[in-house]
Structure formats: structure tokens, C-alpha cells
Symmetry: C2
């Protein structure tokens, strides 16, 4: 597989990832069903023909956008966590990452994972599996960071890492819901400041 060779035929005139980034915005703030192909076409700057040559159907566009969203967000989150000095600081940075996303414009735009859980997960196995994996991943990450903190002495050993990780996950997902109707920045941060007390 030579990366420089191009497949035959007219080359694609747009970047898939750029188009998906636009689709993410539409799907996030409108939801799956309310986001019409017309809206997606306009936002992505594509015609129906191009869209359906790049993606099988509407659900394929959505799932591709979901995967792109997860990829981008995970990269940002990992970068943020990497800057933490110990386990406790890393947990705090992870909480802050969600609080930052849960207010203002991005708060109103919403989280694609939460939206998928609410709108699609019950009746769509592919969507449910993606949501489940995302939640499990976040919970496992919280769990790992808490144990790391307990090992380096920044988090008390008396707490149950697993149960506390699940609580942190609940808090972050809840913040995403509350962010839809716009609690301000201070209120979101007051929540995570309270949650962090569980690590004492």
C-alpha cells in the first residue's frame, strides 16, 4: 500500500475529517433525527451525491462523526491529563476538562456521546456499543487515575477507587445534561470542586 499512489477516478475535492467536523456541530446541537440531510449538506458544504458516495447512509455519517468526535476529544483529554503532576491533579484536570465543555456555547452544543445515549442507544445496537465503550473507557480512566493518586499519596487510600470512579463519571455526564440549558461556568466548577473533596 503506497501512500503516495492515488486511486483511479476523479479525486475527492474535500477532506473527510473537515466535513465530519462540521457534521459533529450539527449532530451535537440538533441531535440525530432533527439534523436533516439538507442541514448536513449545507454545513458540510457538499451535495447529496458527494455525501452518499462518501457515506452509505445517514447513520453512517453519524457514526463516522461520532468516531471522529471521540478521537478528537480523547486526544485533547489525554493531553490535558498528561500535564498533571500527580494522580489527584490528573483527576482534577479530567473533571475540569468536562466542566469546561459543559457551559457556554459548547455546553449548549452538547456532547455527542450523551446525545447518542439518549436518542439512539436503546434501539440501535451499533450506537449502544459505541456509547457503552466510551463510558467504560472514561470510567476505567478515572479508576486508573484514582489508583495512581492513591499510590503516589495524593489521594487517600480509604476510598473505593471503583465506586468513586463511577461517581465521577456520573458527575461528568450529568454536567453535560445541565449544560444544555446553560448553568454558568462558576456553577459547573463548583460541582467539580465539591466532587474532588471525595479524594481527601
Amino acid at each position: 500500500m503506497d501512500a503516495t499512489t492515488r486511486p483511479p477516478g476523479r479525486p475527492r475535492q474535500f477532506e473527510i475529517d473537515d466535513a465530519l467536523d462540521k457534521a459533529i456541530v450539527v449532530f451535537s446541537e440538533r441531535g440525530y433525527y432533527a439534523a436533516s440531510i439538507s442541514e448536513l449538506k449545507e454545513a458540510m458544504g457538499l451535495t447529496a451525491g458527494s455525501l452518499y458516495k462518501a457515506f452509505k447512509d445517514k447513520k453512517a455519517i453519524f457514526l463516522a462523526a461520532f468516531d471522529r468526535y471521540k478521537q478528537v476529544r480523547n486526544a485533547l483529554l489525554n493531553q490535558e491529563i498528561g500535564a498533571g503532576c500527580d494522580g489527584r491533579d490528573k483527576v482534577f484536570r479530567m473533571l475540569r476538562f468536562y466542566a469546561e465543555a459543559s457551559h457556554g456555547e459548547s455546553g449548549r452544543r452538547g456532547c455527542l456521546v450523551v446525545g447518542t445515549a439518549i436518542e439512539l442507544a436503546v434501539y440501535d445496537a451499533e450506537a449502544a456499543e459505541r456509547v457503552g465503550r466510551s463510558m467504560a473507557r472514561s470510567e476505567a480512566l478515572f479508576d486508573r487515575l484514582i489508583r495512581e493518586g492513591q499510590a503516589d499519596g495524593s489521594i487517600t487510600k480509604t476510598i473505593d477507587a471503583g465506586a468513586t470512579a463511577r461517581l465521577m463519571l456520573s458527575v461528568t455526564q450529568g454536567l453535560r445534561v445541565l449544560g444544555k440549558t446553560g448553568p454558568d461556568r462558576d456553577r459547573a466548577f463548583a460541582v467539580i470542586d465539591t466532587a474532588i473533596k471525595l479524594l481527601d
Copy 2:
């Protein structure tokens, strides 16, 4: 306004609240957009004519179902809280009320408030106002119960009642999201058992 006098014309042959209870189930598990009038007709046992004589349009059905949902749930919640022996016990009962609803069948069915926040609140002022009021009410209730516990000695006075109430609200809303993809009963209760530790 005499309650015994009937308006002229043929009387309605179904109970509005019974029909709304069926609509609540459909709207909860399908969401607003995915719930078609056909589905609602079948679930409510009505024809299109009857439906549109009782409600202006689809959104009116939804808002009526939302209001009915809130009324029923609030009554159940108040009953549960009323059985609490002190502030701390009341907070625990309120958390348990949400944990109970966030797993199994009712967990998969989902919360109409959360669904409305995700699907409609951003673009619909009426929906947003209802969601906002519901969240504010829950937060105020947590706040009141925490202060009550601080007054009766069952909750430590060192915590910030307002901030802790907001955290509890985030936890409950988060549980509702997680319940969509089905964490089991034990996991939901482990979360509230952890949250309750903040009251020590």
C-alpha cells in the same frame, strides 16, 4: 364554574391522563422526533382525529406528556422524601429514588426531562423553560434537605449546601444518562452510596 356540569356535545370517550401515560412511555424511550404520530396513536389507542381534537399539534402532546410526567414523578418523590426521618435520610431517599429509576427497564426507558434537555431545549423556548424549572426545583429541593440535615445534626455543617446540592443534581442526571445503556442496579447504588459520603 360548576364541576358537575358537562360541556355541550358528545363527551370524550377516553381519559386524557391515561392517554398521556401511554404517550410518556413512547416519548421517553423513543424521544420526541423518533416518536411518530402513528406510534403515539397506537400506544394511546386513539385515531388521528381524536388526537388532534384533544391537542393542537405534536408538540402540544409532548408538552402535556411532560407536565403529566413531572406531576406523577414529583408526587412519588415527595411521598418518598416524606418518609425520611431526618435531613440526611431524606437526601438519601431522594438519591435512591433516582438510582431506582436509572437501571433496568425504567433506566432504558429514560427520563423525559433529560431527553427534553438533549433533544429540544436548545431550539425550543417552551421546552427549555420546562427543563430549566425542573432542574432548578430539584436543585432547590436538595439544597433544602441538606440544610435541614445540617439543622438537625445528621449532616455536617462544614459543607457548602448549595454546591453540594448542585453536585447531587449532576449525579442524578448523570445516572439517568448511564441508565440508558444499562449499568446494573448495584452500580447505580454504589454511586449514590459514594455521593452520600460528602454529607459526613
